[in-house]
Symmetry: C2
Subunit: 465 residues, 2 copies
């Protein structure tokens, strides 16, 4: 595949420009006003895929943001891989915390800074570029390829399950290559074999119809920000253990071997915590940090607000306060059931004279685990070993990729995580970046994976003969 690698090398300047153009689009899926930008990102990806030589490229509307699909299915007898990725990004606020503007990508010290660089526009384009390298040189891919790019991953993929159900024949494949993924470190490849699930909601606490003067009414009526504090404090004890009744009931227990193996990885947890400047590791003391991040559920307050927000002081008793809450879930927790447990707990704990109400803010994700010994995972492992000079370690994913569980449930196929973001790249936070060296590594890796899966399956087919 030397001509493909030469092609990738020869086009590196254009590839970078294409990525910059895509990062400049603020495709923030959670903000309704950004819907047109999300659509622009989908159309741009479509243009890139057409330029690559992929076929049947199409932007398809859903009840939410659109989906982009494409395929190339002329590798008779070879397996079919479904490349999955997403084009939407997290919000960039507070923008004041960014060194350079989030949607004006900037190269500094071998890194490309901008919202969506690491999560996951660079990874998505690496997949397209790998296909392009084959299709624009030999004119053929070593495997059949389908591509599925959604635009709602950052809001929990609410339209994806219905879309997959409605387009089963366009998505049929032997395995998913999930490009929304990463490696453990610059010199340490990894294969992520599980993702946590996700639920989330917006909680409003109301104690009055209008704000009140804290002198005139203070001592007479309840304060919703204080009531919210009592509600939140009732969800998790100060050590980090979630207090919601039944929250942990469905969680698969760790084996002793797992617990020991994960405890040994505490230095990794320390590096992750150092990466965001945290003062130390924190969480339920019954479990080691990496066990908590990979195999235990969490409850997080993603945002809290209410009352006076400006500089200085305003002596007001607000009428309302809110919290945005999400939980990461693990096997075998059922998202709907846990969501219900948390809401019921809040309703029971709400003080008198306080009205709580819930609204949904995002879709849900079911936890996902890759079965042991998947052939595409083994192929990915060999590619990573060749690229990094050492075999990948198997890791858990603290985050959620709803598509993994959805594609498993709807199409019966597993997802192999194969992306090149790194844990220190500040995804979802200010100053998100992606290493420029991983741009090259990523597209080369996907090209090698396509060849490896094509070769392996052919061998397998032959030996079975």
């Amino acid at each position: 595949m030397s001509q493909e690698l030469s092609y990738l090398e020869a086009n590196r300047a254009r590839f970078l420009q294409d990525l910059l153009a895509l990062v400049r689009i603020p495709s923030v899926s959670t903000v309704p006003a950004r819907a047109a930008d999300v659509r622009r990102a989908a159309e741009m990806a479509k243009a890139y895929m057409e330029q690559a030589g992929l076929e049947h490229v199409q932007v398809i509307a859903t009840s939410g943001h659109p989906v982009v699909v494409a395929d190339w299915l002329h590798a008779a007898g070879a397996p079919t891989l479904l490349l999955y990725g997403h084009l939407d990004v997290q919000p960039a606020d507070p923008e004041s915390e960014w060194t350079s503007a989030p949607f004006a990508p900037e190269q500094r010290d071998g890194r490309l800074y901008g919202r969506g660089t690491a999560d996951t526009k660079a990874n998505v384009l690496s997949g397209i570029w790998a296909c392009e390298a084959y299709l624009q040189t030999s004119g053929r891919l070593p495997v059949n390829v389908r591509i599925l790019l959604e635009c709602e991953e950052e809001v929990g993929s609410p339209s994806l399950a219905a879309f997959v159900r409605d387009h089963r024949s366009r998505l049929a494949a032997d395995a998913v290559v999930n490009l929304d993924a990463g490696q453990q470190a610059d010199d340490q490849p990894s294969l992520t074999t599980s993702y946590r699930g996700l639920i989330g909601f917006h909680l409003e606490v109301r104690t009055a119809a209008v704000d009140a003067h804290s002198g005139g009414l203070g001592g007479l009526i309840a304060n919703p920000a204080m009531a919210l504090a009592h509600i939140l404090a009732g969800l998790q004890d100060p050590s980090g253990r979630v207090l919601v009744e039944g929250f942990y009931d469905q969680v698969r227990p760790l084996t002793k071997a797992q617990a020991a193996q994960l405890e040994a990885m505490t230095p990794l947890a320390k590096r992750l915590a150092d990466g965001v400047g945290a003062k130390g590791l924190w969480g339920d003391p019954e479990f080691s940090p990496i066990a908590r991040n990979w195999l235990r559920p969490t409850l997080e307050v993603n945002g809290v607000g209410g009352g006076f927000q400006g500089a200085g002081s305003k002596t007001v008793i607000p009428a309302t306060a809110f919290a945005k809450i999400t939980c990461r879930l693990v096997a075998d927790q059922d998202p709907e059931a846990v969501l219900d447990l948390v809401k019921r707990h809040i309703e029971r704990s709400a003080p008198a004279h306080v009205q709580v109400s819930f609204s949904e803010t995002s879709g849900q994700a079911t936890p996902y685990r890759l079965p042991d010994g998947h052939p595409v995972a083994e192929a990915a492992g060999r590619v990573l070993e060749r690229l990094y000079g050492r075999p990948p370690i198997l890791v858990g994913g603290g985050g959620s990729v709803p598509a993994t569980a959805i594609l498993q449930a709807e199409l019966g196929i597993d997802s192999i995580a194969f992306g090149f973001a790194q844990p220190d790249e500040r995804i979802h936070a200010a100053d998100e970046f992606f290493r420029l060296s991983d741009l090259e590594r990523g597209r080369m890796a996907v090209a090698m994976l396509l060849a490896e899966v094509g070769a392996k399956r052919t061998e397998g087919a032959q030996s079975a003969n």
Copy 2:
């Protein structure tokens, strides 16, 4: 004083226009960007006082916002009253909750809506108009008058004590007439004989240098919004009792008679709570509602924030969260001592891996109580009885007027509350209004009070001869 009352009647249209012009100025003292507007309000008040015929009218700079002073001191042998008021207003946000724009005053149903109408621009101008009615008719006031209008009342009057110390001779008087005051109801006059003190600060809780991905870091590091919830919940129990060690130690106990009298006023508390649409009365069950509002300290969260604030969801562990906290204090609490108690309590209760920091948001107010039987209070009572047809009830003030304690400490004189705001007029909240009928009542009342104090003192002086 019939010619003065005729003058007030003849000029009512202009008075209203003058008030509208003053309300149009967003003199929000807590917002640094509004400093020029605050200054404009001071200059406008100066122009009104010059037009009234007051002398030595001057806008004087302080280390914060300016102060406006004036006087008329030609009533030889008569007492001197210091009319006190303020020209600054509370912030108007959230502006979306206003029916008409806060700084575009609008008349509806006999009410003038706008930020600062009731608190306290109408009251201040009533005082100036009363002087004008005398000076532009007979050319004389029945008493000596000084005027002191500050522009920092809504931020706790941080510059006032130093100003008063530096200008003692310009402010020397027998008593203060505090125009920043109100009446209990449209048909129920009242004399406010106490004000609560005030302390406040901004609390920041930080757990990391930057925001983190709730998947990548969830389970590894502390969440500052949750830590803040634990800290806030540790400040007050769910029934409303403040848990800060020593918080109540200096509070003057209620007598049994006081407790019974205040308990009988619970219907008033219900009306106040209904006025803001609260679901019910709430607070420390050991005390009746009005006792809690007048004679017990409070701790309120005026604002809370941190993390994602937009629509939808962002799966982030924020780096910081904040709360804006104020306490209303009562005799004999010392503001500095209580502020220290609250901060130390927070520091002690802050979880590990959480960094708390404090910044000041406002000045402080010392609680104030008017002594029984003050001659100017008695004169004010006679004026109110004539205007309302019934004698005033003595009430406590849940709010704070820092000037009352400052003027007592620096000049040794007491303040008689004499203003015409009503408890339902939504001061500090959206849709603040002032009754147009109280515009007339207010200026007439101040004119009558000046006459009453002048006449009374003259009698007193004669009988002493």
